[in-house]
């Protein structure tokens, strides 16, 4: 599948934004952190910026961005529509939650309910995003139980690296936050490795013989394509990264999304401000770059059944 930059940017940044909101909601609902105004302001600023810029980026690949509001209508059947609705309505509890924290420096009482709703909407929105891919039977690399888990894990992991940075900036870091960073990092690593193992070992999804139904005549291979130049379907569905490049990029992704930010986050737990703040910033940059590489591979490694009609030997 063609890796569209707008969608890679959108899923990476909105994922991190929702992950950060989830953790802020969790820490507020559990009263694990004091509602310090500027901590809240900075956290909501980054989370909202990432979510909103992601949503705007996602409209860039539309043929008619001005009609984007119509995408909110088909929640009964379409996960894309559900995602849109959740993304929009989520701003109601998010805004009240932010108001309580930043303006009234309070996340108890009714504000606490808003924190719980924030947790719920953050999880549901990322879940809906991942279900857009996980329900497409045409793409084996997406239509599996790993897709949703990996999206949720990466949202939480990138969010917790951001949360770690904020906690350091405002000197509110606790061993609990350190624990969350350690665990969510390992979770993202473990689930992604399981996904890649699945991808490398899963048998052919639809063989070319089933695409044409001509298997009784023997093996089927394309002799003549219908067109001489690539058409839309080939450009959109035909992108396929060479296996050796994919392996190299998987290694780079491992270093950038996991090893470097995870190690940096560990170093920042106990060190003086001159090390921990630049370390935590670098961890955020690395995890975002690494997640974009991971997301790029999520598209580039995915094969679509349509390509069986254009000479692909498996799907």
């Amino acid at each position: 599948m063609h890796p569209a930059y707008s969608v890679i940017f959108f899923t990476t940044f909105s994922g991190a934004g929702y992950g950060l909101l989830f953790l802020m909601g969790l820490f507020a609902a559990a009263q694990w952190i004091d509602p310090v105004r500027w901590f809240g302001f900075t956290g909501f600023f980054f989370a909202f910026s990432m979510i909103v810029s992601g949503l705007i980026a996602s409209t860039y690949h539309l043929g008619h961005p001005e009609r984007a509001w119509r995408a909110l209508s088909q929640w009964r059947s379409s996960w894309l529509s559900r995602e849109g609705i959740l993304a929009v309505t989520g701003f109601v509890p998010f805004s009240f939650f932010a108001m309580g924290w930043v303006i009234f420096e309070n996340h108890g009482g009714a504000w606490r309910l808003m924190a719980v709703l924030t947790i719920l909407f953050a999880v549901l929105t990322v879940y809906a995003t991942s279900m857009i891919y996980a329900t497409l039977r045409t793409v084996r690399a997406w239509f599996n139980r790993h897709t949703v888990r990996v999206y949720l894990a990466f949202s939480l992991w990138t969010g917790s690296v951001w949360f770690n940075l904020l906690a350091h900036l405002f000197d509110l870091h606790t061993p609990g936050i350190g624990m969350i960073v350690v665990i969510t990092g390992i979770l993202a690593l473990w689930l992604k490795r399981k996904y890649w193992m699945f991808l490398d070992t899963s048998p052919t999804w639809v063989p070319p013989e089933h695409a044409t139904g001509l298997g009784d005549l023997g093996s089927v291979k394309l002799l003549d394509a219908p067109n001489t130049q690539e058409n839309y379907v080939q450009q959109e569905m035909g992108f396929n990264i060479a296996r050796k490049h994919a392996e190299k990029l998987r290694r780079w992704a491992f270093f950038t999304y996991f090893l470097i930010p995870w190690s940096l986050a560990l170093i920042t737990f106990e060190s003086d401000p001159w090390i921990k703040i630049p370390g935590a910033i670098l961890a955020v940059i690395m995890v975002m770059v690494g997640t974009m590489i991971e997301r790029w591979l999520f598209f580039a490694e995915a094969k679509h059944t349509t390509m069986l009609y254009y000479g692909a030997s498996d799907s």
């Binding site: 599948m1 690949h61 539309l62 043929g63 008619h64 961005p65 009609r67 984007a68 119509r70 995408a71 909110l72 209508s73 088909q74 009964r76 059947s77 379409s78 996960w79 894309l80 529509s81 849109g84 857009i132 329900t135 497409l136 039977r137 045409t138 793409v139 639809v206 089933h210 695409a211 044409t212 139904g213 001509l214 009784d216 005549l217 023997g218 093996s219 089927v220 291979k221 394309l222 002799l223 003549d224 394509a225 219908p226 067109n227 001489t228 130049q229 690539e230 058409n231 839309y232 379907v233 959109e236 569905m237 679509h304 059944t305 349509t306 009609y309 254009y310």
Partner: protein
């Protein structure tokens, strides 16, 4: 609503494509393009038509496959267009309701006035039947010539999809596959018509008829070796009158 509607009439309009007969002439694809570029989904883009990167939207494309190996191999021409599935994933994923399946005859269409061009339907279609029109920013697809099959301005014989009426080999057939005694349904039953990628459970309405098996003694049916015509010596002399003319002229 992009939910799949309850089919009210039991009517399932679609095509039956006979892979035994198709000669791969692409006439169906060309005439489809010609009709539809001024029909329901007009116009269909044609970018750089005479240049290096000719590219555009076609609803119907003919692939050619080689099946089997060696003396037993065969070339099969394979026209491919929207199969108007009974469970069309392209309709379910549509966030705007632009993609819909008609309750009355099962035709899958796009309402271009509300399509946002997100392309998700083309990702959901396993058959590559939907093509994006970058000029107008909307998705386009086969309409089963909705502007012909109900068109009372046309002669009754012409009220079929243009790919069917144009096929010089009569490899394409149009009819109601929901009616078990229709001509197309009987054809499917007789020839064991099949679905493409049945394991994905989209239940395509269009059916394909497999190439007929080769006759058992096709090897012995090969042309007999003919007597070589080139055995005659090059300067063999003519007889009679021609011999005399030859002599006169070569003098």
């Amino acid at each position: 609503m992009t939910e799949i509607p309850q089919n009210t009439s039991g009517k399932k309009l679609g095509l039956v494509i006979d892979l035994d007969i198709c000669v791969g002439c692409h006439a169906c694809a060309v005439n489809c393009k010609e009709w539809n570029t001024s029909g329901h989904s007009a116009p269909l883009p044609d970018n750089d038509p005479f240049g290096q990167n000719a590219e555009g939207v076609w609803f119907n494309r003919v692939h050619t496959f080689e099946c089997g190996q060696g003396a037993d191999s065969r070339t099969v021409h394979f026209p491919r267009s929207c199969l108007h599935c009974e469970q069309p994933a392209c309709v379910e994923v549509c966030p705007t309701g632009a993609s819909y399946k008609r309750a009355e005859d099962g035709i899958v269409l796009v309402n271009e006035d509300i399509c946002i061009g997100c392309k998700l339907c083309s990702w959901a279609c396993p058959y590559g039947a939907r093509e994006y029109d970058g000029d107008s920013g909307v998705m386009k697809k086969c309409t089963l010539c909705i502007d012909r099959i109900y068109n009372e301005n046309l002669e009754e014989t012409d009220r079929v999809p243009v790919c069917v009426s144009t096929c010089p080999a009569n490899a394409r057939h149009f009819g109601d596959l929901g009616d078990p005694i229709s001509e197309v349904s009987r054809m499917v039953e007789e020839r064991q018509g099949y679905d493409l990628m049945p394991e994905l459970h989209y239940q395509p309405v269009n059916k394909y008829l497999p190439p007929r098996p080769k006759s058992a003694d096709y090897q012995s049916e090969q042309p007999k070796r003919l007597t070589p015509v080139a055995a005659r010596p090059e300067n063999e002399e003519a007889g009679g009158l021609f011999r005399w003319i030859d002599r006169v002229l070569t003098r």
